[in-house]
Amino acid sequence: MEDMSNYPLELTGPDVPMVRFMNVTKSYGALVVLDKLDLDVAPGEMVTIIGPSGSGKTTVLRMLMTLEPINGGVIYVDGQPLTHMPRGGRLVPADARHLRKVRASIGMCFQQFNLFPHMTALQNCMEGPVQVLGLSRAEARARSEELLELVGMIDKKDQHPSRLSGGQQQRVAIARALAMRPKVMLFDEVTSALDPEVIGEVTAVIRKLVAEHNLTMLMVTHQMGFARDISDRICFFFGGRIEEQGPPDVLFGSPRRDRTRQFLSAVKEAI
């Protein structure tokens, strides 16, 4: 068992990160996917994770969304431990109630959209605010319509997902996640399942979010140009660790590590 006394019960001080991975380890049996990861994301920061497949990029987001349990370390969100909770002066694994409380500040968009197929676009957006946040239907509708407007899907609000294109579904999914008013938004390869001609409509929405909203965002993507344009920081993952990180111009312009250079040139060739 890990000695939990090295981990603070909460993060305090002037520069509390919105997200902190502290010594986080994830393994599937003998396969170590993430090895003692330390990663901070500041409030309002946009961090993009790149790297070859199997490097643990998506796992980072999935652990933060509590879709996957972690095997070691602690994740903090907005100063509070997410994966653990304080009890008797030390951290113990979080129970369902604690997870629900802290998870409320995190929203996520998925590669496969995962819209609810039996609900219209508007109903998809209203579901969380009504059921989980307890908003009145009128409030939830106003909020949802505003967000569908933001993502340019207000005209299709009464359509079921099966009648929408991939790009349209993903835009609704972004509105649905935003309707929960998260502090942190996670974008997990949100353009990977899209036809090339509709990728732009989804990236445009994310650009708008970055420009107009003070959200903290963590993104995994293969769209290098897009990542370079909008990120404050790029993290290059390799073999379950951060091989190199820095501002986009530095990481894409003059990478220091061989593996980063190899990866970037391989990606460039693919395009």
Partner: protein
């Protein structure tokens, strides 16, 4: 041996059989209602985090499905009293047939639940929904439409199995036909009528289930 159908006798016994048909319908309806609710419980229990519960329910379902219904009916009615559980034929019959079909329906539900993609569960976590909200609002509405066809089959199935309740004296169609036969020594008409009545119920039920299935799918935006 000669085949002679007596229409006057047919009309004479018709009211009694139609009356008994009501009991048959009630037995099938009640039994099915029990099976639908209990079956859902058995299906959900098999997805529980508690391994022991999951295993126990799995074994129970297999056990019920692997033994004859008529034996289960006898057990509840005749063996129950030895343990101090004294139930009327109707109650025993409903308990046995409801339990029996709940095992089958739980498998239908289980298939439906398994057909809901993992991403739907993950979306519910991302929206911070409770387990209850996840099931009621998202998972079950998607799991039930694909299960409807299988559920319809068992609705017809339970109807056709209600004659087994005659072995403990529930006054449904079969039991009434038997009674008519032993009073009059004529079996051709009562049994034929029983067959015709079953056919006259089963066929429309199967058709209605099919229609219902199409409507539900359309309503939920699925094709």
């Amino acid at each position: 041996m000669s085949f002679h159908w007596r229409w006057d006798f047919t009309f004479e016994i018709m009211p009694r059989l139609l009356w008994a048909t009501l009991n048959t319908l009630m037995a099938a309806g009640l039994g099915y209602a029990i099976a639908m609710v209990l079956g859902l419980g058995l299906a959900l229990a098999q997805r529980s985090r508690f391994r022991l519960l999951t295993l126990a329910v799995r074994e129970l379902v297999e056990f019920i499905r692997s033994t004859p219904l008529v034996l289960q009916i006898f057990f509840v009615f005749y063996v129950g009293p030895q343990f101090g559980i004294r139930l009327s034929p109707w109650v025993s019959g409903m308990a046995a047939i409801g339990l029996h079909y709940s095992a089958y329906l739980s498998e239908v539900y289980r298939g439906g639940l398994a057909s809901v993609p993992r991403g739907q569960w993950e979306a519910c976590i991302a929206l911070n929904m409770t387990a209850r909200q996840t099931y009621l609002r998202v998972i079950l509405p998607q799991a039930l439409p694909p299960a409807l066809a299988g559920m319809g089959n068992y609705l017809v199935g339970i109807l056709k199995d209600t004659p087994m309740l005659s072995v403990i004296g529930v006054a449904e169609l079969m039991q009434t036909a038997n009674a008519i036969g032993s009073e009059s020594y004529r079996y051709l008409e009562p049994y034929t009528l029983v067959g015709v009545i079953f056919l006259a119920i089963s066929l429309p039920v199967a058709g209605l289930v099919r229609l219902f299935e199409i409507r539900v799918r359309r309503k939920l935006g699925m094709r």
